[in-house]
Amino acid sequence: MAYSFPEEVLEHVFSFLSSDRDRNAVSLVCKSWYEIERWCRRRIFIGNCYAVSPDIVIRRFPEVRALEMKGKPHFADFNLVPEGWGGYVHPWIRAMSAAYPLLEEIKLKRMVVTDESLELIARSFKNFKVLVLSSCEGFTTDGLASIAANCRNLRELDLRESEVEDLSGHWLSHFPDNCTSLVSLNMSCLGSEVSFSALERLVARCPNLRTLRLNRAVPLEKLPNLLHRAPQLVELGTGAYSAEIRSDIFSNLTEAFSVCKQLKGLSGFWDAIPAFLPAMYSVCSGITSLNLSYATIQSPDLVKLVSQCRNLQRLWVLDYIEDTGLEALAASCKDLQELRVFPSDPFGAEPNVALTEQGLVSVSEGCPKLQSVLYFCRQMSNAALVTIARNRPEMIRFRLCIIEPQAPDYLTLEPLDTGFGAIVENCKELRRLSMSGLLTDKVFEYIGNHAKKLEMLSIAFAGDSDLGLHHVLSGCESLRKLEIRDCPFGDKALLANAAKLETMRSLWMSSCSVSFGACKLLGQKMPRLNVEVIDERGPPDSRPESCPVEKLYVYRTVAGRRADMPGFVWKMDGDKALSADGSGNKPREVVERLGSSYAINFCTWLSYSLQSVPNTDARIITCMGQRNLFC
């Protein structure tokens, strides 16, 4: 029946499919649909850059225009992944520079990007439009200068939270005078001052500029100059939000804000002083997203600001807001969907603010649309968690960090099993959960039994035994990412649930009790997983097999062993721990089994795609029902 439609018709139909899942499902229907789909796929998302290789991607999808990719494990954000671990984007850029001359977009997260890569991007892709580097590192402002100078049609340059070696602010001046295409510029992570006049001229000549996130070095007195030149801005990140307290500065700022009728998002506010907050009041009623998480303003001033933002949907704030401020938030902002409360003094021994579990309870009571929470606090109770769970059964993301590890319910001194149990039991749509506090195996039983939609779970200092891990691995059907640190989980649950790991993107375990022997066994039995041991004490085989490894990172892959492992990473391969310069790539046949949980009802026969990759002779047989391995 597929043959009765000309390819062009099918291609046209497929062009309406934007979701990767839909496209993957389509490509598994039959060989000819697979072929047509792969020629017209324009966007690729690769959740783990080591799950697949550039060659494999390019061979299958020859006409890609947009790549989104992630590198290091999430716990790299908290310094748990040693420097030099990997996540290098350059091999991808090199391969794509030859294969995808029409590439327009590159979005990377937690990857190492060099100036060389940026220069190659600038030179290779004539129609390059979008560069988003989220939490990346390894490049300098010189690389940015190449991008600015050469990408004639650049629309987005977003460096969110990247660590950039800041040689000077001169890079911004490399945008040519005829560059008018910018829609989004986020330079908030940079330290150096850019030439303000260059910035002013750039902003003035880009009529489509919607998002402008300045860095701290842009002085507040000069912000009005920019706002007047870009009154169409939808998202603004201020620079430092302090200046000499002078009435002319204040009135200029107030006037400039009043001109920006489209503003929906505000961020920045470094070194904010309360005196200048009222300058923004005119835009507050339109604001839906507010990031005050770098503003060290106290609760009363925060409350005055926030209670004017009646349409607020997202608030990121420091714990200076305190319980009273959160109560006010709950009373004023009925559209609130996402709340993140960050700690102002995370390493202090004593609480410095009056923020407790009560603040979160208030918000859960007052904000009917609340679905996403990140909350740092110093005390929690089962009762509070149960209340929150009952108030907000539609919660999707719940991340709670009680600052003291293994802190019990402060009222009863019991573990917080019941509380988190209530969360997973009531919040049936929960996709992401991070837990803290005193937790036994019981909480994992609750999670395994109830958290059926859970995709990402983060655990620290919790559990009693392997039973806990077993509950999670055997019960959480939708689990994609599991990250564990400092828990007494060992070999048994891991090995008993080895097959589960092929259905997930990755597993991270650090400071647990997984032995070297178990890692080897896992690597031997599961050829489609890369089982990587990270150990800075030296080669794992210099210690007994029963010795626990420092860190373990397991991920599914069709690319085989990675070639860029540093000296402290070993891949478990059969009976050996292979380092990066171990024996050369062995011929492998990578066979993916039928994944019964993901069987689709279209067809029951396998569709084959035989590809030979030079040097590794890997044959990839794509099978019906196999979940997208890019995911």
Binding site: N79, F347, Q406
Partner: protein, 202 residues
């Protein structure tokens, strides 16, 4: 910190998987009747030990026993991103000019807690110089050039002041830039032996 010891008996499938031989049999293989012995519960300090253990004991009973580390120093906890930590530190960078040097440097005044530390850092930065430590009136006579420099700074009002007169915190607050001036030019600013000033080095 006491915990309830009432873990429910493991289900049969799990039992089957808990053979002492490490196998990858999927849960359900006929299990032995004996209940598995869960590894000893670990308190926080024990798990922290595991992380720090540099050698490994042959003990079946697992945990490396070392004295627990001070609680404050847990890597990556609480989970605050290094980007955020960096951004929260405001840092107070000021330019440092040295008479006769071809380029300026920058220092973050918040890295130091006293004039002593700052001057030591400046000496290290401009290693060929000796900087006159006006606070302690310690003249470090020496070396290559035999030149002495007086540390001065421009304050918020735009005036050039001698470093060391005001309390350290006030100095950090008001300093906009530093200049190491050749002593020979610093007429009239020679350090006095006035300990009654009471300017604290803190």
């Amino acid at each position: 910190m006491s915990r309830g010891n009432d873990a429910p008996p493991p289900e049969p499938e799990y039992l089957g998987a808990l053979k002492t031989d490490l196998t990858l049999a999927l849960p359900g293989g006929g299990g032995g009747p004996e209940a598995p012995k869960p590894p000893a519960k670990r308190g926080f300090s024990d798990t922290a030990d595991l992380k720090l253990g540099s050698s490994c004991h042959e003990d079946e009973d697992s945990a490396v026993t070392q004295p627990p580390p001070p609680k404050a120093q847990v890597v990556g906890w609480p989970p605050v991103r290094s980007y955020r930590k960096k951004m929260m530190k405001s840092g107070k960078y000021v330019k440092v000019a040295v008479d006769g040097a071809p380029y300026l440097r920058k220092v973050d005044l918040q890295l130091y807690t006293s004039y002593q530390e700052l001057l030591a850092a400046l000496e290290a930065m401009f290693s060929c110089l000796t900087i006159c430590n006006v606070v302690n009136e310690r003249k470090i006579m020496d070396n290559i050039n035999g030149k002495e420099y007086m540390p001065t700074y421009e304050d918020k009002d735009g005036d050039w002041m001698l470093v060391g007169d005001v309390p350290w915190k006030m100095f950090v607050e008001s300093c906009k830039r530093l200049r190491l001036m050749k002593s020979s030019e610093a007429v009239g600013l020679a350090p006095k032996t006035t300990s009654s000033k009471g300017s604290s080095t803190k």
